[in-house]
Symmetry: D2
Subunit: 383 residues, 4 copies
């Protein structure tokens, strides 16, 4: 197997990922600026399909209208030259100091208004570049002290902003689907809408729930030690998996954004298997960045590695599905047989009368250790 990416794989990277300069809370940047045009070239060279961007990844926050237009024109040229598309756009509501208390949920109403204005601009930009997915990550929608506002008020403010933006997309005919991205903490002490589940709970309360889904990120769910694939599965089952951010992370620590599969390849395997099994057909977006030890040659290897590991795991998922011993264990369980089914008065009467031999049912060994060991051996390539 060559593990070469193709456009059908829909592999995308954020401008901010390959152009990440390696600054962290304790150290200065280690890499020079990589221009958006050069980033697109790099992505084209390595076979990526798409590039995503925050407004200010491309256009500086202080750019004039004409500067903006020049930048956008050059960028489009690069996209065409390198056969890279822009499937998704987003907005930075966290970098500028004005957002120090959040954006849509900030206590200062001017900040809330500015955040919406800025997002509209980012939507304009994304639409101009062809994006049909708009991600909203409320990077600073949170608190260090909950004395500062009532937490239900924050939910209301968030809803107000999202409802506005949906209307704006409709009014402009942009055709956006919004994908909400959760994160439990960092850079704020705690972030509202900590998990993908919280957003799945918010969406039905919006004015246009049909336009809004989620953008789960491996690192964000894993920071809280949660099983990321389970969250993805719930989102998919609800028809809300609009986008996905792939990277890697060890639980219980800062947002690491490692190369896909670099922290725990087993978790990555179950994720890829799920996405492939259900036929997820959205972008596979790598929201990761290279170690600070790397120069841009290393960044390139980092990006290639993300895609290779996905393809390697995809092949293993197919192997799992074709493995007779594994399928034997799974089919033996009879799990496809019906449970209680749909309620009716008579079905209930039948069920109440049913006798269960608890001890016998309980005593049955389920063979999950063998199942998991076989899975491990497929993962490790010895089967």
């Amino acid at each position: 197997m060559s593990y070469q990416p193709s456009p059908a794989d829909k592999f995308s990277f954020g401008l901010w990922t390959v152009a990440n300069r390696g600054r962290d809370p304790f150290g200065e940047p280690v890499r020079d600026v990589l221009s958006p045009v050069d980033a697109v070239k790099m992505l084209g060279d390595i076979g990526a399909w798409g590039v995503n961007l925050h407004d200010n990844d491309l256009v500086p926050i202080d750019a004039t209208a004409s500067e903006r237009d020049k930048i956008v024109k050059d960028f489009k040229q690069a996209l065409g030259d390198h056969k890279v598309v822009v499937p998704m756009a987003t907005v930075s509501l966290f970098t500028d100091p004005i957002f120090k208390d959040g954006a849509f949920t900030a206590n200062d109403p001017k900040v809330r208004r500015y955040a919406v204005q800025k997002t509209m601009g980012a939507m304009d930009l994304g639409a101009e570049l062809g994006a049909k997915i708009f991600v909203l990550w409320g990077g600073r929608e949170g608190t260090e002290t909950d004395a500062c506002r009532r937490a239900d008020e924050a939910v209301k403010r968030l809803r107000e902003a999202i409802d506005w933006l949906c209307e704006y997309s409709l009014e402009k005919g942009y055709g956006y689907r919004f994908a909400l991205e959760a994160k439990p903490n960092e850079p704020r002490g705690d972030i509202y809408m900590a998990t993908t589940g919280n957003y799945l709970g918010l969406i039905p309360t919006l004015a246009h729930p049909e336009m809004v889904g989620v953008n789960p990120e491996v690192a964000h769910e894993t920071m809280a030690g949660l099983n990321f694939m389970h969250a993805v599965a719930q989102a998919h089952e609800a028809g809300k998996l609009f986008h996905i951010d792939l990277n890697d992370q060890n639980p219980g620590r800062y947002d690491q954004d490692f190369r896909f599969g670099a922290a725990n390849p087993r978790n990555a395997f179950f994720l890829v298997k799920f996405l492939e099994d259900v036929g997820y057909d959205g972008p596979r977006h790598f929201d990761a960045h290279a170690y600070r030890s790397e120069d841009y040659d290393g960044v390139k290897h980092f990006a290639i590695g993300c895609m290779r590991t996905y393809l390697i795991l995809k092949e293993k998922a197919a192997r799992f599905n074709a493995d007779a011993d594994i399928q034997g264990i799974l089919s033996k369980l009879g799990s496809d047989k019906p449970g209680a089914g749909k309620f009716s008065k008579s079905a209930a009467q039948t069920l109440v009368a049913e006798q269960f031999d608890r001890k016998t049912i309980a005593a049955r060994g389920l063979d999950y250790e063998r199942l998991d060991q076989l899975t491990t051996e497929i993962l490790l390539g010895v089967r």
Copy 2:
């Protein structure tokens, strides 16, 4: 202040809390059996309002019908004698070995059917005792290896069971409101529906979403290091806070179920403040248990401590709301002024044209350190 509980406080305890015998994964029970009747007596003596129960807390899983009726009769007598009510009932879908692979989501269809049957019985029991809230905690709805089933299939099975149970309540005229309780892991490697948010996301996909809300638990959300109060606030704002489990927990470890406020009184303060500020009027249920170092006299002190700490923090919440310096900081923020508001074409045009002086807005100090220190000093009782 006396910090004496009254029925208006709606303090309740599970039978399984005060009767907890102190068994853990590494040690044998340290306390003898406390009968349900004696537990009710203890709760009445210390001024608790309610007692909750799993079916098998009261009626052994192997009891005959007549044994059951005798037990229930004696228990009702005790409730009357000690002026204790049963606001909530629930079902054990985790203790018996039959549930080793889960209950509603188990691979064995017989187990799924049995789980529904058993829950119907627990609903009958709860209704007989006057309960109007039925909690569902899927203690073992999860996995150690995700090779064993597709995670979206588990969501479907869960929905099927809850839909059935809603219909059963309607058919029987029980008037139940169901409260779904999330937990991220333990006793399973990972549990589906890991956070309160996940359940808020599931509910709108049910056949009877209006009958179903959540039962957030301090320890369960805190195990994943999440801000519990934020989850409670989202649930409340969505009209879904049907019940609440109060206890305490340090993040990132086993389910500790400590006395309310015992691990982090600051978090407990913000929680009590939220519940009181929004006028939450459901039960304050303590789902905790005493340290293993205690005899039943210690258990009593444990239960009294839960209620005292709640009342102490409630008083502090009132003090916070009445503190002129604190309210001065909060009102100075002007956060009650409108943000972008409701979208209209003209409102959007106005907003697009609005000028924001980013630097000036950003430079404003928000006084949150002082706000938080004042809060701390109220909490510590020196203000």
Copy 3:
């Protein structure tokens, strides 16, 4: 490759691992009792080299002297029949309710005395069975409330007990080496000596530091989200790696004791690589247990899986060491060249005068992304 274990691999299991009955805080046992003799038979059948035990895994706490002798005799017979040795013994200072406040550090002096007496008995038993390593895991040496004792007093009590036990071993001529096992929490709220590092710090303060080392356990260090291999490396470098407990665990949760390599095979790989690279020649002890979904046939597969995965990873470690691309990256770093070396006045003068071109040194890419991707591909068996 067959991945068949041989005695030279020194694979051992605790009696309590394969005989684990699957009880957990929320559920009853799922497997019947497996006798020590049958456990030894199972271990012999699957090719394990050794079996370890707590005193009460073999001899019930209430056994009479003659019952004990009969049990020991039968057990020795089984050891001989199945060619299984006892490399390590330990003591249960946590199961019986008497240890609810700890053992060596308990506040009740009678408990402290009993704990030492019981440990002496366990040492006698281990010596009789041929064990030369004695593990001390202070399962309950901790607190739920730090109000109960001064934490430095606990350190003193711990030292007193260990010093006594070293003397007892010397006096009896048992030739034991003690291996201290750390754990951060569970079943106590917090456990003193939370990490392997804490024990490495305690040992030099003992009366017989030369007799005492550590027994790091994957799950225990990983519960706190720490890099287990780093702790093992420090212990080894200090000559203190007397024993090791292999299993697997996801960070930030209850003690899972999963099959070796089942949670994160990448971490397991770096661990096996370290042990093999440094020529660790002690037991490879699997302190794990099968999922609760299993019968004893599943337990057997679980135990076989532990050993297979170790051997698979050992083969991969050799492949890593032989990989020319990997070794090329590593040798390019020049890391074997000397740093500052040993201090002398003249060496210091030389160093102070040395000029460093910070920018050039910093700009060099270290190729760690490629290095890690190559490692990943070896791990996944595609290289």
Copy 4:
């Protein structure tokens, strides 16, 4: 109580704490530069006793010798003017890109040499300012991929550097005591010497163990969910508590460095109580920074809050010690009576013969729930 700090409290702050500009991984600085001289003025104004510094907090890394001397002269003037001392100095081995792979443990020998040279310069600077404690925090001594070096090699390199620096201090007659500061992760994926315990284990293997102790930090130990006070107690008991970094942190997340007591006042209470009970007489150093929401007026309130909370908790510790009910529970335990004591052949014979009534001893309730509730009520100021 006024809770006003006095020099006897030995409250110190790092230059980097009050001058922290609020940059984080996702956002730009929110505060302008605060010069070292102005920082000293602020600290003097609010009653702090000391100021600590990394070399480059005061002297830019590219400063010429004459620039350096001018800066130092002005700084000394400010120290004198505002009656602030420099008890501790340290070195930045993490900010400059040259340290991207670590400093003392970096693979590039030039980096290792430069790190030692730079530390010698920082020691010169600290000595000139009167510091007698030198803290070493190996901010980047770690890995993202353990493929890059053997972890025991890192320990050896670390030892080599510390041994050199001890010799340098001796040769120069600086009289330094070195305090080693652990951290589990961030900014590196994993940091060697993850906990205070790891350093306590390293120290006895150094050439000059008597010169080297530890500098535990609340946030660093708490990130891993460990009980910080326990680590402090072990260090103190070993005579190795040379310095301490006070701040606050929620477990399992990025390094928050919150105002002392702001995350969990209960943990802060037990810490202050321990320090005061044992008569710790070193600096109480606040290694924290203000929220990003603050201007420099907010920073001032932040710093005042750190000191006030310490003094409030100190008062509560005295109240705990004077509380008759609490002391009654503690003395009832009889924990001051001897355990097994010192081993002798006859003492062992006596102990072996001793009879213990396990059930009776185990049945005794220890009253820890009441003890903890009383402690809570002291903490909350209602007792």
